[in-house]
Symmetry: C2
């Protein structure tokens, strides 16, 4: 990258930059490049206000002028990034959306090691185990932002938080929530480590030896864990929890959508700790 | 349809029945045929136990024998429906899923008029206004089942509750929850009509003149309404509510995912009415 930045215009579908951008919809390519894609002026503005500047900004040539877009362009150029103009059709091809947003950005993936999280920074954390749906994962990030969580910890083989679907569903929370990826065997010692007052409380919704979720003895930092969409949490993971809680199930089903369970439980923990 | 039922075997992708089944993934065709598709042994068993027998049952030739599947086949044959065997590849093409369930069923769409709902049958009802995501809609049905809601009322132009995505996300609740479709101008008089003790209380999450959602004066039958994913509820819809409540938003975002908001609010109403 060199300064000053040239504003490139791209009009061909076979342009290498278009191919590169489109490839970021694929997990393998994201991993290799260490980069991901986020769309939309509001989301990119959230990113900017959280200190995340895209390395590349791609704008539709047909966009309406907007002061927030001007601020984005300035920030990217100031940071030595590249600003590219292209057609709505090509933007649509890049993002895989019929009605694409007028702007998209390429970001470097963040550090997702447990060590990068400060568990004393927030009273609530969300934990997902083998969650396969990127929409659920993004929704959990969005909920985490709302309940003042510190972030989302992904245990075992989860969907990619940097996928276009997860970033979209997070509504910008991918930039504000901490994100860590770890195996169960890494997570548990990390959770139990440190001085007593920092020791995390691990809570899961469960049908086994559980107490009602309302009025349960939640304690900060409280880690609210949900499991895989089909299988739920492994039995030994549940057994390792400090607290197993149960939510009313009045109908035929015995479980909630994973992101819904995390939210109902998360809001209960918030009320309990705030009260 | 004639009795006794022949078990047809279909091995060709261009078979008219395959084309018919595949067409049910399309809203236009569902509407014309008045039928929809549901997949999976568990879901079809839920349907059966709720008194919904598929008109046609499609099974993979490679399926494992299962007593629940035997019960399904018997029920369909007894009702004069058709049982079809086909290859996993064709089932995959029909359902649009890479790893299809071993069985799918075709159901007649239900009556979705407001008049078919008995509001005294349950203390809680969910209401969605212009909800566009079929996954959100299915998740609301699933949550409704869990909180003992009577059903889901779809206001204005919502996603189709009989789409494959909504049925899948509902985890069978599409068969157990009441479903009605209405315009706002039909819904409001229906809600306010009838004797005083049956008059519904309309509740929405709102930022305008709202009270905290915890401890708000909920009353049965309580109708919990959420709005469109992007725009939320129209201002005049909010103004017409009996109760506007607000949930804590500790982060940058000012809203939750629609299905998440319905669940957090729905569980709060349940606790309030049960307490």
């Amino acid at each position: 990258m060199t300064l000053p930045t040239a504003r490139r215009e791209i009009t061909g579908f076979s342009n290498p930059t278009v191919k590169f951008l489109k490839s970021l919809r694929d997990k393998k390519h994201r991993k290799r490049e260490g980069k991901f894609l986020a769309e939309g002026l509001r989301l990119l503005t959230d990113a900017l206000e959280s200190g995340r500047v895209p390395e590349m900004l791609v704008m539709a040539s047909t966009r309406d002028p907007h002061p927030l877009l001007g601020a984005l362009v300035s920030a990217v150029e100031h940071a030595g990034g590249e600003v590219v103009e292209t057609t709505p059709d090509i933007l649509s091809k890049i993002t895989g959306k019929d009605n694409p947003q007028a702007v998209a950005g390429v970001f470097a993936e963040f550090d997702t090691s447990l060590a990068a999280l400060d568990r004393t920074a927030a009273p609530i954390w969300l934990v997902a185990q083998a969650l396969r749906d990127p929409g659920n994962l993004g929704t959990m990030l969005r909920t985490g932002d709302a309940i003042g969580a510190g972030g989302l910890i992904l245990i075992d083989d989860c969907a990619d938080p940097f996928s276009v679907e997860a970033v979209r569903a997070s509504m910008g929370a991918v930039f504000t929530q901490g994100i860590a990826r770890a195996s169960w065997d890494e997570f548990l010692p990390w959770l139990r480590g440190g001085p007593d007052e920092e020791r995390g409380q691990l809570v899961a919704a469960s049908l086994r030896e559980a107490v009602p979720y309302r009025g349960a003895p939640y304690a900060a930092p409280c880690f609210v864990m949900v499991g895989n969409e089909s299988r739920g949490l492994p039995e030994n993971y549940e057994a390792a929890c400090d607290l197993r809680v149960t939510m009313p199930m009045k109908g035929r089903a015995d479980s909630l959508n994973a992101a819904v369970a995390a939210a109902v439980l998360g809001y209960e923990v918030l009320a309990s700790l705030d009260g």
